[in-house]
Symmetry: C3
Subunit: 343 residues, 3 copies
């Protein structure tokens, strides 16, 4: 990690996609210079926003590393988001030599469905059953390709027979996939921020993803569905804001605390840093099942550019997750503790 | 009711659950001292919020009454919410001897499905047909256990035959239940505040409940549903914000006005005080059917900690229902009219 | 168009429905006098809002024209909304002789499904297939009556056979209707504002309509649906706020830019002015299909009385579409360019 001095001016930078607008708006609100790295098809769009001081055009995102010298001269700090893996490839974050917000080692575990499942199991979260053998399947399941992003590359099967058929139909045979119990309930996505400076978790907001086509299925009457069978797909294209029953909030905090604590054991000493998201299903008896974790800012936080009902409880000003990141960086600079939050 | 003097300092208090955060945040914003009564599993969570001046730990919520002397010394005013019945038991509110926001007599009527139905009928709201005999059932129905809360203890049946089967299956025979026509449409929950000081109803916000598992059903294709039959459950775990077609708003106000006016006849002289919620289904011909009324602050108001599109129309500042309650109390203190809003 | 001088005081006026509250609140926030035209059943409701300076009562909305002299004396500017056609009849806007925000000629094209389809095709948007012959139908379709408003007068059919049956059943034979491919995906409504002064499009917000009964269907299990067959209806009664995946936003802007550019060719020289909405379905491969355009302020903007996550990115203050209209008018007055935005 590059050593930086308190009296330097820093530039917050990220790739132009996913939650870039929120991150750079938040950075500007906290007094930083801002820079977006954009491919040519995106520069015009990102040029609309005054809080972006500079847009550096790039041929492809994989050429990001060639900008590092230039960015170093600006005292850039990279804030990653959920599209970094898609744009830089697996392991792409690790190759970044600029100061990087968060803990890169967490991403390796997040990126491997088996290691992730193991982590959440150690954190003692309620998890859907994971099947290693097709033969064991005894209830509806959801099958997820390794590396599937944003909900694409998933399918559901009601039983062993249908599972076998669909694995063939979707050519999953030669691929790595993960068979998970399909929990009957409703999806709820919990957006958190863990502050290493304050050693505290904050709930930043809650959303429900908007997935195509699965969230359009219910609008088709059953007789039409049976006459025109559709395979549900789970491509995330947006998010709905929601709030949670207050009696479930203590549980939501406990889950997050357990995840953070276990991350410090599994990836010592720092563990998880900054924003993360627990993707859960809540069942009729009000149990959370954690189906996935994301260890960076998630797109659902874009709902709360101006704060959420939850951040409105803690902060006297609009606080997005993007701004919360910038605030943590600013405080770390002031306290000369940047090394605790950067990698 | 305890007589209080204008120059005293008051403390707003409530049980730590449901909409406690909103109520105490609102109380603090209006200048009150605040106190949460929490069981040991909840004190840590509620300790996160700076607007809560004091948390009094309690073994079980049923021991609330033992705190009354202590709370009296703080000039406490109790603001009840939708979990009071669940925590204090039926009739539990009546036993509270502290100054209590609202009209306890309304709760008896709200709590009895037959009396509630009768009240709404007298208020001339559109109601789903209520069946007193299984034999009368001639269309899909929803069956609700007496005292069922938060949507648990409900089931649907498509006709008389299925109704009879399900009553047996779910062991409803020896219980008190209520058979209601299942209105085909979409659920809309209207959050109101009736100010006895201003003698006026305000629409505070609108939501749609998020219920598990019924709101996950539509994500399962019909062929999966038929192969793996599921009984829908209606456990409320959260809320979605919505706005209503503006042309329906005058009707929404008229319904509320009729409910308030009839409450003054049925529970004279005060009738309904403060927040209430009409739980409706809107049909394709844009008719409201009122399926239930809640006569206290509902959890859906937690969406609007920072105000709703509707309160943004009346107020120049963020106005939650929790804050609106505190504002009414503050104004009543100033005008020496506390007796008009407390019980 | 009436010539107006910069030093005159203007009054923003509209019919009391749809998005009237938002329009007049926005006008007041930008310093205008405001006036609502209301039928007797609505005056009480609109009287609740302090930002409405005057309510002119009218017997029926069709008598609007009789008020024109009176409104001229107030230097009224009419801001139309999506209920003008329903209230004034087809061609009703054209008969307005008062200064009118927007381009009336656009409405003729919007109002004719064939011309509208032609326009969107020329703008090179992705469109669902339009069938002129029943015989051509080879996949599920949605059939829309000409002039159907707010989603009523629509039905779906899974194939040619069912289409023929339903056309008969719903007595569409003698009516004008439009057969459109039913795109499998999820609905997303994009709210834009085109500023002729700045020659720029802004994304003002995004919503998903709440339609009865189609959005209640998914809550009915398949076995109930099959035992009690329901015809879905699409009556819009409200809206949900959503945000879109950031990587889809550049595409959302491109679509809007293409629509604005082609509007200048089709309705020269001004083309589209002010607020419009692209009503889209997003498919699993993240393609937008534009199913309709609305060329005035849509009701979904009522979600964002206090600004949306998108306007929060551009503006340092709450900016509804209603306020954005008033801001454009105010700037046009200052720059003596009112003729560029009025008709």
């Amino acid at each position: 990690m590059v050593i930086m001095q308190e009296d330097m001016n820093y530039t917050i930078t990220t790739l132009a996609s996913h939650s870039c607008l929120q991150i750079l708006k938040g950075a500007k609100d906290e007094g930083f210079a801002t820079c977006a790295i954009a491919t040519s098809d995106k520069t015009a769009f990102y040029g609309n926003f005054k809080f972006i001081d500079e847009i550096i055009q790039i041929e492809t995102y994989s050429r990001f590393y060639s900008l590092e010298e230039k960015l170093k001269a600006k005292n850039a700090i990279v804030v990653p988001h959920g599209s970094f893996v898609a744009y830089l490839g697996e392991g792409g974050d690790e190759k970044i030599s600029l100061p990087y917000f968060g803990n890169k080692k967490v991403l390796k575990i997040e990126g491997d469905r088996v290691l992730q499942h193991e982590w959440l199991r150690k954190a003692k979260l309620n998890l859907p059953k994971a099947y290693s053998q097709i033969e064991e399947v005894d209830k509806p399941v959801i099958v997820k390709l390794y590396g599937a992003k944003g909900g694409s590359g998933y399918f559901t099967a009601v039983n062993k027979k249908q599972l076998t058929e669909k694995l063939k139909k979707f050519h999953f045979q030669d691929k790595k996939y993960f068979i998970q119990e399909y929990i009957i309930g409703v999806p709820v996505y919990l957006q958190y921020f863990y502050s290493p400076l304050q050693q505290k978790v904050e709930l930043m907001g809650i959303d429900r993803r908007y997935e195509t086509n699965v969230d359009g299925l219910g609008r088709l009457p059953s007789d039409i569905q049976l006459n025109y069978p559709l395979e549900p797909s789970y491509t995330v294209i947006g998010n709905f804001p929601i709030v949670l029953r207050e009696s479930l909030l203590p549980k939501a905090y406990q889950m997050a605390d357990k995840v953070v604590a276990s991350s410090k054991k599994i990836i010592p000493p720092k563990g998880l840093i900054g924003p993360f998201c627990l993707e859960t299903i809540i069942t009729p008896n009000q149990e959370f099942y954690c189906i996935e974790i994301s260890c960076r800012i998630v797109a659902g936080t874009n709902l709360y550019i101006n704060g959420s009902p939850y951040t409105d409880l803690y902060y006297g000003q609009p606080m997005s997750t993007g701004r919360r990141i910038a605030k943590e960086i600013r405080e770390a600079i002031t306290q000369r503790r940047l090394d605790e939050i950067l990698d």
